[in-house]
Amino acid sequence: MIPTENMEHPEAPKRTRLEELWLLFKENRLAILGLVIFALFFTTAVVGLILTSGQDPILDPAIIRLQEKLLPPLAKPSLETMSQNEAPKLGIYLFGTDDLGRDVFARMLQGAWVSLTVGFVAVGISVLVGIFMGGIAGFFGQRHITYDQVLITAIMFAGVVLLGLGKDMAGIAALFVGHASIAFLFISKRTFWKKNSIPKWLKTLHRNAIALDTIIMRLVDIMLCFPSFFLILTVVALLPASMYNIMIVIGLTSWMGTTRFVRAEFLSLREQDFVAAAKALGVGNFRIIFRHMMPNAIAPVLVSATIGIATAILTEAGLSFLGFGVPPPHATWGNILSDGKRFIFDAPWLTFIPGISILIVVLCFNLFGEGLKDAMNPKLREK
């Protein structure tokens, strides 16, 4: 017999995927620039949060000094006209002051945190929703919803609506019918379903109505049809203005791209041998989805998420500029810009500084995202 021990000694380069990714990413100078600026922005936002929040912040963005209004950047405060704790701690107005004499530097720092959190939380929500919907559409897409399920949902929905309209008796009746039919279906499946003696009307109701994949992907199409900025405007106008509402609304109107990516990846991954192999090992569906398929599908999602953060920051700035964003005492880059537009000729720094900050941050996220995409794309690797 051939000795099998010590037969194979591969000297394959010992690099993990992450190392390989980093090597490829490193070659793209613009992407590195994007990464560096992103890191800077991140630290600025965190430091800014620490400096500008709390009872007695070091840099207070809210102190109004009317005698000091519209000072240019790097102007020195006149310490005689104000008390000790009103004076800026830096001893200088780094970015000047606005029409109420507030320190723009402090306001920019406060706004950086808003942009960062809105960007990340909104994209986090959209990615979570996208992965969930895309995962279902890709993996369980061929399963069907039956007519009876549609009917029960409709009855329950009608019940909730009736309750909402104040017609209590009718609403409760509808909800009761809904629950009763769920219980009936559950029991009937146990008893005469198996004996194959199903009544005919039940059989017709139990036909497949619509595939899960169809429902989810048509929902995506519908969502994509709305001009999303105006959709957000409408929703925000109806909801009480707060940072969290904005994050949620931006997140819930931008998950469609991720859904499409994840679904497409899952459709091809589902047919892969290693998924069949995992099944043959007795691995359950959820473990297959989250441990075996998700890591393989995550690359394009990450890329689109990076670019999505830039879009979310831009959307938030736009909303704040229009006055629908984070409510006024709190500074965001968008409302600093909007406040400054009235003084664009007298005090151009009020519009220039937030504008250029938004530009740089959004640009760096896009560059970073592009770099990631190139590094993760096997076809571009060969170059």
């Binding site: 099998t4 394959a12 069949a276 995992a278 099944k279 691995v283």
Partner: protein
């Protein structure tokens, strides 16, 4: 054979059809086979004759729809596993019956180290702590003949050679010491020297832990090497079955004979290799009568219309060709008369 009384796995008259848009592919059309304890059973046949589907059915891996198990049963240790729920099947998959796939490159998940993947194969079925888990992975890798297994555990599939990957796949299949391993052309993607190593490996392991192997292949060389029993499949049916010697020296089916004649070693040097004319029939449009008759040199008029029955030659040797059976009967009778 002694195993036949109480087979580990018994597939009985299995029919698996795939429903297409306007036709139905009869991929497996009434197949029965038994795998005894500790036996190596080979399913042989051309591509598309239903070997793989019949094996996937055993693990409940045939997608339904489009697939449909029309009739038949699969008994594992005497219990039917066709009607089992998914959770019950998951307990059998990997734990009692494991599978080794054809393509070692694509059957391993590219984003995990092989250590992770072997560990998962164990963890799915058993509760083990981290330390014993690593120990068991190392032992498994050593068992399948991978050098310096401690380092290999941290490797990704793309860092290994084809032969090594297949060894890892075998290690994963062995992880929970199953009673039966289904090997679906495990050496087809490998070159000949590695193929011999893998076959040796399977044989050695089988001797050590006394498990059964259901080996699916189209390579008669491999069959001669490892099989105890052979089932020759053609167009979703068993054409001939018997032990290795019966099949290789006294084959009684024109298809088996054709396959054997096609082996390079059997033709004369310099002459053209023998080949069976034509191709396997489309599983949706099988010819009436014997599915092999359009390609068969000894086909008679009856072959066109009457589906052939299994003819028993004794000692577990069965063949689905009444023409040859009758020819042999006649010959025997003539000899008797001559005597």
């Amino acid at each position: 054979m002694e195993h036949d009384n109480n087979p580990l796995l018994s597939v009985q008259d299995l029919k698996v059809y795939f429903h297409g848009r306007d036709d139905t592919a009869r991929a497996v059309d009434g197949v029965s086979y038994n795998v005894g304890k500790g036996e190596t059973v080979c399913l042989v046949g051309e591509s598309g004759c239903g070997k793989t589907v019949s094996a996937l059915t055993v693990l409940g891996l045939v997608p339904q729809p489009p697939g449909e198990i029309v009739s038949g049963d699969v008994l594992f240790k005497g219990k039917s596993i066709l009607g089992l729920k998914d959770e019950e099947l998951q307990h059998i998959r990997g734990n009692k019956i494991a599978m080794v796939f054809q393509e070692p490159l694509t059957s391993l998940n590219p984003v995990f180290t092989i250590g992770d993947q072997i560990a998962e194969a164990i963890q799915v079925h058993e509760d083990v702590d981290a330390k014993t888990l690593i120990e068991r992975c190392v032992r498994l890798l050593r068992d399948v003949g991978i050098a310096s297994p401690e380092q290999r555990l941290k490797d990704y599939p793309h860092q290994l050679s084809g032969g090594q990957r297949q060894r890892v796949m075998i290690a994963m299949a062995l992880a929970c010491s199953p009673d039966l391993i289904i090997a679906d052309e495990p050496t087809t993607a490998l070159d000949v020297t590695v193929q011999a190593q893998i076959l040796n490996l399977l044989r050695t392991i089988q001797k050590k832990v006394s498990m059964s192997i259901l080996y699916i292949t189209h390579d008669l060389g491999v069959v001669a090497n490892i099989a105890d029993k052979v089932y020759v499949m053609y167009s979703g049916q068993i054409a001939e079955q018997g032990n290795t010697e019966q099949i290789f020296t006294q084959s009684r089916h024109p298809y088996t004979r054709g396959l054997l004649a096609s082996l390079p070693g059997r033709s004369q040097r310099g002459s053209r290799l023998h080949s069976i004319p034509g191709t396997v029939p489309n599983p949706s449009y099988k010819p009436a009568g014997c599915p092999f008759h359009p390609r068969c040199s000894s086909a008679m008029e009856t072959c066109r219309s009457i589906p052939p029955e299994m003819c028993d030659y004794g000692n577990g040797h069965l063949s689905r060709c009444p023409v040859i059976y009758e020819l042999e009967l006649e010959e025997k009778n003539r000899e008797k008369r001559g005597n």
